[in-house]
């Protein structure tokens, strides 16, 4: 596998997708913006490749024949917790989202994303930020909807995890409307850094909360 010619400081990326067409498309489009150091088409080879290359970001398809994207994340995180994952999928069924995010992906975008946005998302994930597509933002709002607590909600150790703050909701709502982080920052009169920290905090809640919508989806997919 030949590494793409990329500029200094470009994130090193591994592509994991079972569609060869999609991989070569992404590789061609991302061109110089990132350094593609390897490709894999299934769970086992992906784990092996990631362990060897230790890339900055793994661009990971949610649907893989040998167990799904979350299996890759779970396995790699055991050995190399520092590797960051950006999940991609053609669908945006909520269980897909919840599976990869709870497994530990730093972001989730759909495959219809433009090349520039994808490159930007990879850079942000490489820099430690969370990346929410507008659909993911809508889904998170939905999952944390302000419905009154029903008796079957099992409270978390930290009840804070089970709900979003007003500010977080505002940020998510704007992202769901297609605002970029910069636009969100301007709209809410806050800095981009603050927007990023809100999104990261939402991501953390998404991964740690035991809110019953989340646990139910997780349970349906046996992901707890």
């Amino acid at each position: 596998m030949s590494a793409a010619v990329a500029g200094e400081g470009a994130p090193r990326v591994v592509l994991v997708d079972d569609h060869g067409l999609f991989r070569s498309g992404v590789r061609a489009e991302l061109g110089r913006q990132v350094e593609v150091v390897g490709e894999a088409d299934d769970v086992a080879p992906a784990i092996e490749l990631i362990g060897r290359e230790l890339p900055d970001v793994v661009l990971l398809d949610v649907h893989l024949p040998g167990g799904g994207g979350h299996a890759v994340i779970t396995e790699v995180k055991k050995e190399h917790p520092e590797v960051r994952f950006l999940a991609l999928s053609a669908s945006d069924a909520p269980e897909d989202v919840i599976a990869v995010i709870r497994a530990g992906a730093r972001g989730y975008v759909t495959k219809t994303i433009s090349t520039a946005d994808l490159a930007d998302a990879i850079r942000r994930v490489a820099g430690g930020d969370a990346v929410f597509s507008h659909r993911l933002a809508g889904f998170v709002l939905d999952a944390f909807a302000t419905a009154p607590a029903t008796p079957d909600v099992r409270p978390s150790f930290d009840p804070e995890l089970d709900q979003l703050t007003t500010r977080e909701r505002e940020v998510l709502r704007l992202i769901a409307q297609g605002y970029t982080y910069k636009e969100v920052a301007r709209e809410l009169y806050i800095s981009v850094k603050t927007v990023e920290s809100h999104v990261s905090s939402v991501l953390r809640k998404l991964q740690l909360s035991s809110r019953h919508q989340l646990t139910r989806w997780a349970a349906e997919r046996r992901l707890t």
């Binding site: 669908s91 945006d92 069924a93 909520p94 219809t112 507008h134 659909r135 933002a137 809508g138 709002l141 939905d142 909807a145 302000t146 419905a147 009154p148 709502r173 769901a176 409307q177 297609g178």
Partner: protein, 476 residues
């Protein structure tokens, strides 16, 4: 006969073989009763008797079944070709052998079917069957069932059934293995044999008819059995053998019953797995059909980017609604708020060719006010599609316990709110007016060169359903 022989059934032929029956024997004349001799000389008088004559020493090749020329497994034809006899001769010999050996020739025939490769191949069905552990279990199960039946028959009736029946225990086992492991072509013939049995077993297409037939057969057998029992022996003397018989049956069932049950269950699982596979195939067919059609259309209109985008979006929408929302393509009935939002997306994309990115949070049933909200949202979306020049419009809808909010946003040309032309202001006013009349409000933000955002808010309340329905209504 040194080799496996032909069974006495079926007494008919399944398919017409094209062309001749056995052209290789035409041109030889039948000579005398001692026909199984080498007869190299020829005389051009085709004769039915030539069917029974030996012709040459055979082809000299290895023994192979001939699936092209068969009644059962094509063994008779194979032997005929191998040793130079006519298949008809071999078949008659087989039937005779079956009678003389009290049925043992039949299982030998089936073993031959398993052990002799078909013409043009070296693989035997038996070799394949060895790895079919479920098939082996099934074969043993079926054979043991027949054995039990024979035991019972033997108790009641001494002699003939048993004598001819026992070899068939082996036959049944062989048949099961052949059935599970024969290539498709050969199965077709077996299917003909099994079809009537299968319809008896309820496996036929016409289940009702199958059931009736089964009842009729069962009733007939029962009456026949009872009348035989009572005519042979009289009254109470029957009880002793019958009692012992019942005990034996019970013992066998206790011993083997669970095993039979397990085999039956395995079969059921297998059938379910097949049903699932069919379902998947059906889905694949539906998806592929519509997706492939769209892809073909896209290729044909490659020079028109707008048409390509429109086609791709329409296909994406249809697939999504079918895969994730369980809606059949073409089903457009709108009963909930989110469905109404999707309808706006569908119509605007179809009519104006601008992609509309929809994000919805929560859902609730429609009422008069929400219909007004949807109408206003539609106008705002259409406006954006027509005038903004944006490449994509974002449509966000959130259902909260106390209000419903819709935001229509584009990154298009925008406009100066204070200096809008009269006609566009009219539209803005109609959106605003409609919202106001239903107790909601509309806000328009626009910046030249950056885009426009229309926010519509409708208070939920009087007539609409409670908040719990809103939160839970969206997903199962």
């Amino acid at each position: 006969m040194q080799e496996p022989s032909e069974p006495p059934w079926p007494p008919f032929r399944f398919q017409d073989r094209p062309g001749r029956r056995h052209p290789r024997w035409h041109g030889h004349r039948w000579q005398d009763q001692d026909a199984f001799q080498d007869r190299p000389e020829s005389d051009d008088r085709p004769d039915w008797r030539s069917h029974f004559r030996r012709q040459g020493n055979g082809d000299g090749g290895p023994l192979r079944r001939d699936p092209q020329d068969r009644i059962g497994g094509g063994i008779a034809a194979g032997i005929g070709t191998w040793r130079g006899f006519s298949p008809t001769t071999v078949r008659i010999a087989c039937v005779v052998a079956a009678l003389v050996t009290t049925g043992w020739a039949v299982p030998i025939y089936f073993i031959g079917w398993l052990a002799i490769p078909a013409k043009g191949s070296d693989a035997t069905i038996g070799a394949k069957a060895r790895h079919d552990s479920q098939g082996v279990a099934l074969a043993i199960g079926a054979a043991s069932l027949v054995a039990v039946f024979l035991l019972l028959a033997g108790v009641l009736n001494d002699g003939s059934i048993e004598v001819y029946g026992w070899p068939q225990v082996v036959s049944v086992a062989c048949l099961v293995l052949i059935w599970r492991n024969a290539p498709e072509g050969e199965k077709a013939a077996l299917q003909h044999l099994v079809a009537p049995l299968e319809s008896l077993g309820g496996g036929g297409d016409n289940v009702r008819r199958g059931t009736k037939l089964r009842f009729a057969v069962a009733a007939g057998l029962l009456i026949a059995g009872l009348s035989v029992l009572f005519s042979l022996h009289g009254g109470l003397t029957l009880l002793a053998p019958l009692g012992g018989f019942v005990l034996v049956v019970a013992a066998i069932f206790v011993l083997l019953g669970p095993w039979w049950l397990r085999i039956a269950r395995d079969l059921l699982f297998e059938r379910q797995a097949r049903a699932r596979a069919e379902e998947r195939a059906d889905m694949a067919a539906r998806v592929h059909d519509s997706v492939l059609q769209t892809l073909a259309l896209i290729q044909r209109s490659a020079e028109d980017p707008q048409a390509v985008v429109q086609l791709a979006r329409a296909q994406e929408r249809e697939l999504r609604s079918w895969l994730f929302e369980g809606r059949a393509p073409g089903d457009t009935e709108v009963t909930s708020f989110v469905e109404g939002v999707r309808e706006i997306q569908r119509d605007v994309e179809a009519r104006h060719g601008v992609p509309v990115e929809v994000v919805t949070v929560g859902d609730c049933p429609l009422d008069e006010h929400l219909n007004a909200l949807l109408a206003a949202a539609r106008e705002a979306t259409v406006n954006a599609a027509k005038w903004s020049g944006a490449s994509v419009i974002s449509l966000f809808a959130e259902v909260e316990p106390d209000k419903v909010e819709v935001a229509v946003r584009d990154r298009g040309s925008g406009f100066d709110l204070d200096s809008v032309p009269a006609d566009r202001k009219g539209v803005a006013e109609s959106i605003r007016g409609r919202m106001l009349r239903h107790g909601g409000k509309a806000a328009v933000q626009s910046t030249l060169g950056e885009g426009t955002k229309v926010t519509l808010t409708m208070t939920r309340g009087l007539a609409s359903a409670g908040p719990a329905a809103a939160a839970d209504g969206r997903r199962r």
